[in-house]
């Protein structure tokens, strides 16, 4: 799913990533951890094509990022869902509109789109807020909208950059359950976090510890739960 070999990235004279190598198989859950400035966000940005890969090699969901053409970036991002700490949702639009956006850009027929959006909103426990304006939602609800948007198109990989950073412990645990739920359906996840509680949430997840742009440690949690079949998983959430 993801292969990274000797990946480096610099902002001028500052090297944010130095010789990072790792790989991620389909259905794996990988945590990136480390202090602020360790290179977690830079690595994620490289993986979804927001920064160009100029040193080293990287491939994501079958796309070689080294020679990724501009016109291929949208295709890459349709296979990758991205979740941010600051949600990045349109606060003046409804929950439905925000989630539907990810399918509208694919030109999905309206009837099909509405069915999928309603299903994912229900799976997120937001069915009573479908037509609420997002700015009236709580932080946890807004983050669930962001996750719903990233998941609605059934991506092969989720990249999450400190998705629980703005949330209290209860909400954090709830959101991690949601991530785990999708992970058990076979979606690969790379999540950047510096929260110990979050790291302990996912049994069997691998943990890469970054420091000053380098991987300094790799660990893994308990044995993972057996992966469910993808078609069954889609049915379970109504997708």
């Amino acid at each position: 799913m993801v292969t990274v070999e000797r990946l480096s990235y610099n902002f001028g004279t500052y090297w944010a990533l130095k010789d990072v190598s790792f790989s991620l198989k389909k259905g794996e859950f990988l945590f990136l951890t480390g202090h602020s400035g360790a290179g977690k966000t830079t690595l994620l940005r490289l993986l979804y094509g927001a920064l160009p890969v100029t040193r080293g090699r990287a491939s994501v969901a079958g796309y070689q990022l080294n020679n990724l053409r501009k016109r291929d970036i949208p295709q890459l991002r349709r296979k990758v869902g991205v979740v941010f700490q600051d949600f990045k949702i349109l606060s003046d639009r409804t929950v439905f509109d925000n989630v539907a956006m990810a399918l509208e850009v694919r030109g999905m027929p309206r009837q099909h789109l509405e069915r999928r959006v309603r299903a994912i909103i229900r799976a997120m426990g937001l069915e009573t807020k479908s037509y609420s304006i997002c700015e009236r939602l709580s932080g946890g609800e807004q983050q669930r909208v962001a996750i719903a948007r990233s998941m609605v198109a059934n991506p092969e990989l989720i990249l999450a950059d400190e998705p629980t950073g703005n949330l209290d412990v209860d909400l954090t645990m709830h959101l991690m359950e949601i991530f785990q739920q999708f992970h058990t359906y076979g979606t690969s996840v790379i999540m950047a976090t510096h929260s110990k509680e979050v790291l302990e949430c996912v049994p069997g997840a691998r943990i890469l510890h970054l420091q000053d742009g380098r991987i300094v440690d790799e660990a893994s949690g308990a044995e993972p739960e057996p992966e469910k079949e993808e078609p069954a998983s889609l049915g379970e959430v109504g997708l």
């Binding site: 349109l90 956006m101 030109g107």
Partner: protein, 291 residues
């Protein structure tokens, strides 16, 4: 696909309400520039029509020598009649000329006392169609030389005014008018560009999110381009409407001696070209703004 295209276009139109004041100012600016351009075109068109009345024609007044015999003169006339692009050739014998002169002067024009001693020579008024390809090449001067070289011809009066005026007009058009129109197009493009840029900046969050979820650049840009298109269409339409109103006031403003110029409204193809050009400039500047 068509549904998505229509939806995005509708969003582009709906987004115009995001900055109503800025959009209104842009609309007014585009309309004013269209009006100004239209007024310039109106002036050009009016002058053009006046020039067209005589532009394609050149006239020579030819006088034969007083001692030229009729046979030589008739031979010269035949030579002239055989010339290319001849439009009209009026010939006058001395007697014809005297009668014509007398009739022109009315009751006071009694020249019967000159009948036996007519001082007037054989003469003629020759007019030629000037072929378009010859308008730049001193073609009339060549004709003048040709007519002057006829055996019985004494002198030729040639007023190159029309042909030269047409040529001068073309030079002015190329050297002054086009840069002026280009300047006006630049104003439209800057105004629309800035407004679309403003729309883009206020939608940066949306653009970023759309990009994150895999929207193609065309999907992101289309609503903004639609906004530029609508500005162009509405602005040019408003400008042309104002031009029609202004024209109704000034149509007869120069229609008195010595000008006797009736200012005519622009023909539909000019109006379409004006609206099309303004809209095209608006769309292009929008495209540059969102690129």
């Amino acid at each position: 696909m068509i549904g998505q295209f229509l939806r995005l276009s509708a969003r582009g139109v709906a987004d115009l309400r995001l900055h109503p004041f800025a959009q209104l100012l842009t609309l007014v600016a585009v309309a004013m520039v269209t009006l100004l351009t239209g007024l310039i075109l109106l002036g050009l068109h009016t002058v053009n029509i006046e020039l067209l009345k005589s532009r394609g024609q050149v006239e020579f007044q030819v006088y034969w020598k007083t001692d030229a015999d009729a046979e030589t003169v008739v031979k010269d006339w035949d030579t002239i009649r055989a010339m290319e692009h001849l439009k009209d050739f009026k010939t006058f014998t001395p007697d014809n000329a005297l009668t014509e002169l007398a009739s022109t002067l009315g009751e006071t024009g009694d020249f019967s006392w000159l009948a036996d001693n007519n001082p007037l020579p054989y003469s003629g008024l020759v007019s030629f169609h000037v072929p378009p390809e010859a308008q730049d090449q001193g073609w009339a001067a060549g004709l003048l030389t040709q007519i002057k070289s006829l055996p019985g011809v004494d002198k030729v009066h040639y007023t190159p005014f029309q042909a030269d005026l047409a040529q001068s007009w073309r030079t002015i058009s190329h050297m002054v008018i086009w840069p002026v129109l280009g300047f006006l197009a630049l104003i439209v493009s800057l105004v629309v560009h800035n407004t679309i840029k403003l729309s883009l900046m206020t939608r940066l969050d949306e653009v970023e999110i759309l990009s994150l979820v895999g929207a193609r650049p065309g999907y992101i840009r289309w609503p903004l381009l639609t906004g530029g298109f609508v500005q162009g269409v509405l602005g040019s339409g408003l400008g042309i409407g104002l031009l029609a109103i202004v024209h109704s006031f000034i149509a007869e403003a120069l229609n008195f001696p010595p000008f006797l110029l009736e200012i005519r409204f622009l023909p539909p193809e000019y109006l379409l070209a004006l609206a099309g050009a303004v809209t095209l400039v608006s769309v292009l500047s929008s495209w540059v703004a969102v690129k």
